[in-house]
């Protein structure tokens, strides 16, 4: 167990280092760092000062060390557009993204498991077939296109829900959140649904396959032979068995939900990190781009690491140390 954690930690550090190298090469070696890191509106003297401050007159390897040291100290430069440290800017936007991602995960789970169960219990019914074909569509349609349809239908045509923005937020433990007010929830519904769609399809398919598999098992038949009600057989004996792989997948996929939030946030004007990065790319706010890449990749590595460790803890064979016979 300890060896496993250490190996995964080392691997994470390696990936992070590779990433820093990639960003460095992209910014300093391929692009012109003066363009990338110094505000194009700066005058000649400013530029000279900045070049010296950033050490751009030094050899490349030394520049890399400087870059690495500053990154480790949390100094990733100042945003041109907002004129505040890039790191601070991104951290300010992070709660919105996390709230959206969590809401999406909740939608995916709360809808996906019941729908998957239904499709698994009645695979030949029209409802079961409809659910499964729907999940195929959910897999193959691009998120942004579904997002547009949602806006067109629910915001423009029906006018039930707002077409974008985050709406009012309230503070929860000092973090601004939407879900505490009805107006905030109204703003959250469409983007969360949109972001959930892909994972929803995934969970439906996993649950359906798991249910069909479990229904064929002797232990389910034995549970019925005990005279348990259908609700108990499905809700306890079947569900509990398929929940372990589903929970794992949800954990593993959470990083990808955050990544795909880029698309959803852009469509719905949701003020999170994803919209920030696209805006920054469009106005060439490069320090923010560099900071975003480093932060998101770190976040990603952390999530993957956490899921790996938690999973190895949850796996009963690891946890309980094997059978006694």
């Amino acid at each position: 167990m300890a060896a496993f954690v250490i190996r995964r930690l080392l691997q994470s550090v390696l990936v992070l280092w590779l990433m820093s190298l990639l960003v460095f090469v992209g910014v300093y070696a391929i692009g012109n760092p003066v363009d990338i890191l110094i505000n194009p509106q700066a005058d000649q003297a400013d530029i000279a000062r900045a070049i010296a401050a950033l050490g751009l007159d030094q050899p490349l390897w030394q520049q890399y060390l400087t870059f690495l040291r500053q990154a480790l100290l949390g100094d990733l430069g100042k945003s041109f557009a907002y004129n505040i440290p890039a790191l601070q800017l991104i951290l300010e936007r992070m709660p919105a993204t996390l709230e959206l991602a969590l809401a999406a995960a909740a939608v995916a789970v709360l809808l996906g498991i019941p729908l998957g169960l239904w499709a698994g219990l009645a695979p030949d019914s029209w409802a079961g077939k409809l659910i499964m074909s729907g999940s195929i569509l959910g897999f193959s349609l691009p998120t942004f296109w579904v997002g547009l349809l949602l806006i067109m239908l629910f915001a423009v045509e029906l006018g039930w829900l707002p077409s974008g923005g985050r709406g009012p937020t309230s503070l929860l433990l000092g973090i601004p959140v939407s879900f505490l007010s009805w107006e905030g929830i109204r703003h959250l519904i469409l983007p969360a649904t949109n972001l959930a769609l892909f994972k929803l399809s995934l969970i439906i398919r996993l649950t359906q396959a798991g249910t069909r598999e479990a229904l064929l098992q002797d232990y389910v038949k034995f549970a019925r032979a005990k005279g348990l009600s259908n609700a108990r057989v499905v809700g306890v004996h079947v569900l509990k068995n398929i929940l372990i792989p589903i929970v794992t997948v949800i954990g593993l996929e959470f990083g990808s939900v955050i990544a795909f939030a880029i698309v959803t946030e852009s469509i719905f004007g949701w003020p999170g990190m994803g919209k920030l990065i696209i805006d920054s790319i469009n106005v060439l706010d490069r320090p923010v781009i560099v900071a975003y890449l480093l932060i998101v990749v770190s976040l990603f590595i952390l999530i993957n690491l956490a899921v790996d460790i938690v999973y190895s803890l949850l796996d009963p064979r690891v946890r309980l140390g094997g059978a006694t016979d």
Partner: protein, 326 residues
Amino acid sequence: MSEAALRVENLRTHFFTRRGVVKAVEDVSFSVAPGKILGLVGESGSGKSVMGFSIMGLVDPPGRVVGGRILLGGRDLLRLAPEEMRQVRGNRIAMIFQDPMMTLNPVLRIDTQMTEAVRAHADVGRRAALERARDALARVGIASPDERLSAYPHQFSGGMRQRVAIAIALLNQPDLIIADEPTTALDVTVQGQILYEMQKIARESGTALIWISHDLSVIAGLADEICVMYAGRVVEHGSVDQVLDEPLHPYTGGLIASVPSRNRRGEALRQIPGMTPSLLELAPGCAFRERCSRADGACAQDPALSSPAAGRQVRCFHPLTQGATA
């Protein structure tokens, strides 16, 4: 015989598969009295398990009971509403499955799996249910049942798991227990212990027992009556002594000849030639005729069940005569 715990009459269970109809149980009748043990023998695929599931009302689609009656204490189970049937399952009739490694849910603790079986049928609290679970475990010979209750199935050996399954079957003092080859997957010593315990339980509590097996020697030491199934039909029925000493059906004769036994030491063991016919769209006529040494033209017709002596039945045009075995 009005006091039979269970009486099955002309039961027919068919599977409507895409490739045709499989008549897994065809026109089967028998009955078991309280405290008695009926051995159901037949080779693999002869319809024994389907027979058991039909009684439980647990035949999986595309299968369906298409005819007959299953009388439990005078009530026809086939006419019960789903909820009434659920109350019978695990309560009046319990079933034990073949593979102990697969019958317990791997992610639920033993106490959960036992108390839920109690509370599905009786309005008792968790503590009372636990009490009953502990007693049942003790009855099937599990040491320190209190600790065992909070374990997961994978912490038990195969024999222990089967004991737990038997304990679950005993929880509600059923009128009938159907044991579907519960000892085949276990080693011989454990098998012997479990057989002994089951026999004792049946005798003491007056529970009727249907013991399904393909192994005649197991049935011989355990059962009161024997029902031999072949290709979904009962081909011979009688008391243990009658059937084993004077088999009438050529198939039963073959089965007995292929059991190693002390009586015929030195004689070569005989195998029944050929294989079980596919039950898919079975041609009319005696299903055994491809493998039967006594077959003739008459056997192209369906033989009817005849009763040559009291309590005995056989489905054959040319039954064996006394003394001859196959």
